[in-house]
C-alpha cells in the first residue's frame, strides 16, 4: 500500500467536485489509479483522449505509481 496525491483539472475537477485528494492505493499503474478514482467519484468517466502526468512530467497510462507521487489527471486538452 502506498500513498499518492491525485489532482483533477477542468472537467475532471467539476466531475469529482475536488481539486485534489490523498489516496492509499495498490494500483499497479496510472490506468488502474484512474479506475479507482472513477469508483470513488460517480461523475468521473473515461475520456479516450485524457492525459496523465506524474510529478510535473507527462506520463504513459501504463507507467507505475510510486510512493508519494503527485499524479495529475488531465481531461482532453483544448489549447489555442
Amino acid at each position: 500500500m502506498m500513498r499518492v496525491r491525485v489532482r483533477y483539472f477542468a472537467s475532471f475537477r467539476e466531475a469529482t467536485g475536488i481539486d485534489d485528494e490523498w489516496v492509499d492505493t495498490d494500483a499497479k499503474n496510472l490506468r488502474a489509479l484512474f479506475d479507482e478514482a472513477m469508483a470513488r467519484h460517480a461523475g468521473l468517466d473515461h475520456e479516450p483522449a485524457a492525459l496523465v502526468a506524474v510529478n510535473d512530467c507527462m506520463a504513459d497510462w501504463d507507467a507505475r505509481v510510486g510512493e508519494g507521487d503527485e499524479v495529475l489527471f488531465f481531461p482532453p486538452v483544448a489549447g489555442g
Binding site: 483539472f9 477542468a10 510535473d56 486538452v77
Partner: protein
C-alpha cells in the same frame, strides 16, 4: 526561444521582436482569436484553465522540437489564461527562418502541438446560458454561473 502564459492581452509586436534576426527572410505569425460561434452555437466568451508548470515546460519542448526540425532561427509562443471576450487573442505563435517554407511549417507545427499536448482547457460560454468544456466527450453542459451570466 520563449514560451509563456499570460492573463493579460498578448503583445504580438513584442513577440515578433523576439525572433527578429538578420539571417531570416521569412516570419510567419499565427494568432488564435475568440470567435463568435462554434459547432453551430453562438459563443459569448470563453475561459482557459492552464496548468502552468507543465504547460510551460512542455511548451518549451515543442518550440525546441520545431527549431530542431525546421532549422529555425527564432520561435516563440504566448498563450492566454483566464476569461476572454469575443475577438480577443488567445494564442500567438511566431516563427522566423531563412526561407518561407520552414517558417510556415514550423509555425503550423507549434500551434498543432500546442493544441494537442499542453495542459490547457477551454470552456465556452453560450448565448443560451450554458457553458461547456470543449473537446470533452462526456461532460454534461455545466450550469450557467460562469462567464455567460456576467
Amino acid at each position: 526561444m520563449s514560451f509563456s502564459i499570460t492573463d493579460g492581452p498578448i503583445d504580438a509586436g513584442a513577440l515578433r521582436a523576439l525572433v527578429q534576426d538578420p539571417h531570416c527572410g521569412a516570419c510567419v505569425v499565427f494568432e488564435g482569436w475568440v470567435r463568435n460561434h462554434n459547432e453551430g452555437r453562438e459563443v459569448l466568451g470563453l475561459e482557459y484553465e492552464v496548468y502552468e508548470p507543465l504547460a510551460v515546460s512542455e511548451g518549451l519542448r515543442i518550440l525546441a522540437e520545431a527549431r530542431h526540425r525546421f532549422g529555425l532561427s527564432g520561435v516563440a509562443c504566448v498563450h492566454r489564461t483566464g476569461r476572454l471576450g469575443l475577438g480577443e487573442v488567445a494564442v500567438v505563435v511566431v516563427a522566423a527562418a531563412a526561407h518561407r517554407d520552414e517558417a510556415f511549417r514550423a509555425c503550423r507545427y507549434v500551434i498543432d502541438e500546442v493544441k494537442r499536448r499542453l495542459p490547457i482547457w477551454k470552456k465556452e460560454h453560450y448565448r443560451d446560458g450554458e457553458a461547456r468544456w470543449v473537446n470533452c466527450r462526456h461532460c454534461v453542459a455545466a450550469d450557467s454561473e460562469g462567464l455567460a451570466a456576467s
